[in-house]
Subunit: 76 residues, 2 copies
């Protein structure tokens, strides 16, 4: 079953990526990650590791904390 | 070789944990993670996954983004 936190993280990543005008393939190339891996994160089916979170943040030119600044993944 | 981003993340986690007055063991119990795993994250030798980041944030009663709000893990 899908983990709603992973799904929320993925949706927020997709939003940030589109704001930067990048395709999944372009983000993958910059971050040195496979396009299918980026796709899996955005669909909430990949449990991405800390080092890859940092790679993706750098590739998007955002702070890692921004990848978590979404209502969908906050808790009370 | 130690990854400076993992080390920075671990130091910041340790700071937040101590601010909450929790031992590694107590945090581990709340987050349902082994104390040695918490120790490894704080020493920057564990590449923690997204689901465990969310567990730790919840256990510390902070937003996941706060785990990344540290000068040591920001980039230009």
């Amino acid at each position: 079953m899908a983990n709603p936190l992973l799904v929320g993280f993925g949706l927020h990543l997709k939003k940030l990526r589109l704001e930067k005008g990048l395709s999944q393939e372009q983000l993958g190339l910059i971050a040195e990650l496979d396009r299918t891996y980026i796709s899996g994160i955005e669909r909430g089916v990949r449990n991405v590791s800390l080092t890859n979170i940092f790679r993706i943040a750098k590739a998007l030119d955002v702070q890692a904390s921004e990848l978590f600044q979404s209502e969908a993944i906050s808790h009370d």
